[in-house]
């Protein structure tokens, strides 16, 4: 089934000077959190002192990845009023992989491809009402193909 044909699709040439840039509204990239070398430091720099494990934070990802360069992860938070979602990959050299802030017009849902340097726990932290809710999942990175 050709997805291109199934849905309407429009692409527009990127970046023209006249367009308003949404990025101007962005908060600055959280350098301290992203450059932290341990998951604990990353969480500290995100202002996450503690979190409660929650069944309402869902991670859908394969348990085995044939290649660590692309590991698809789908995250849904069913915690009411979720404001943000952070993804932390424990064993990566810089564990914090991404943080998404959701305004009213967006569901607390994201799917993204990430890199895993080696087999690792992937932790997700959802923020709602000033509290943090977490879920984690182990993903094994295997050697695929001929390995040559």
């Amino acid at each position: 089934m050709n997805p291109l044909r199934r849905v309407t699709l429009q692409t527009v040439a990127a970046l023209t000077a006249g367009l308003a840039l949404p990025l101007r509204a962005l908060a600055a990239w959280n350098k301290e959190a992203f450059q932290a070398k341990t998951a604990a430091d990353a969480l500290k720099n995100l202002g996450i002192a503690s979190s409660a494990e929650s069944k309402d934070v869902l991670i859908d990802a394969p348990q085995i990845a044939e290649n660590g360069a692309v590991v698809p992860i789908e995250i849904t938070s069913n915690v009411p009023n979720t404001k943000s979602i952070a993804i932390v990959i424990d064993k990566n050299p810089f564990p914090l992989a991404a943080k998404f802030d959701f305004s009213e017009g967006a569901a607390p849902y994201v799917k993204v491809n990430v890199k895993l340097g080696e087999s690792s726990f992937v932790r997700v932290l959802a923020e709602a009402g000033g509290k943090f809710y977490s879920a984690s999942r182990e993903i094994k990175v295997t050697i695929g193909g001929c390995g040559g």
């Binding site: 699709l9 949404p22 959701f102």
Partner: protein
């Protein structure tokens, strides 16, 4: 030069699934090129999604996001024809933006 992006939206009732593809090397700063020299870090740091001019999602990401990033998001309270803008900014200050109508 701004690299192309591609957006696909699927409207279901008043919510829309949005998938966006971006061309970007997402260099970690650890890879060596053919001549053996380290390729410097080069990765998207910020991603923004706006609906009808209003910010809906802002993402901060690291070099751990895969090369040629693909994101899926879900928007609520939208209808066909709503204006959708997506933009990214990388650590070298390069940026790209795309605009489409939700369908």
């Amino acid at each position: 030069m701004a690299e192309p992006m591609k957006i696909r939206t699927t409207l279901k009732g008043d919510s829309a699934d949005v998938r966006v593809l971006m061309v970007h090397p997402m260099e970690t700063g650890l890879r060596k090129d053919a001549s053996g020299s380290i390729v410097p870090m080069h990765f998207i740091q910020e991603v923004a999604v706006k609906v009808n001019g209003k910010l809906a999602i802002e993402g901060q990401i690291s070099q751990a996001v895969s090369r040629n990033p693909v994101f899926s998001f879900r928007l609520k309270g939208v209808k066909a024809g709503d204006k959708l803008e997506i933009a990214w900014l990388d650590n070298k200050g390069e940026r790209s933006q795309i605009e489409t109508a939700i369908a």
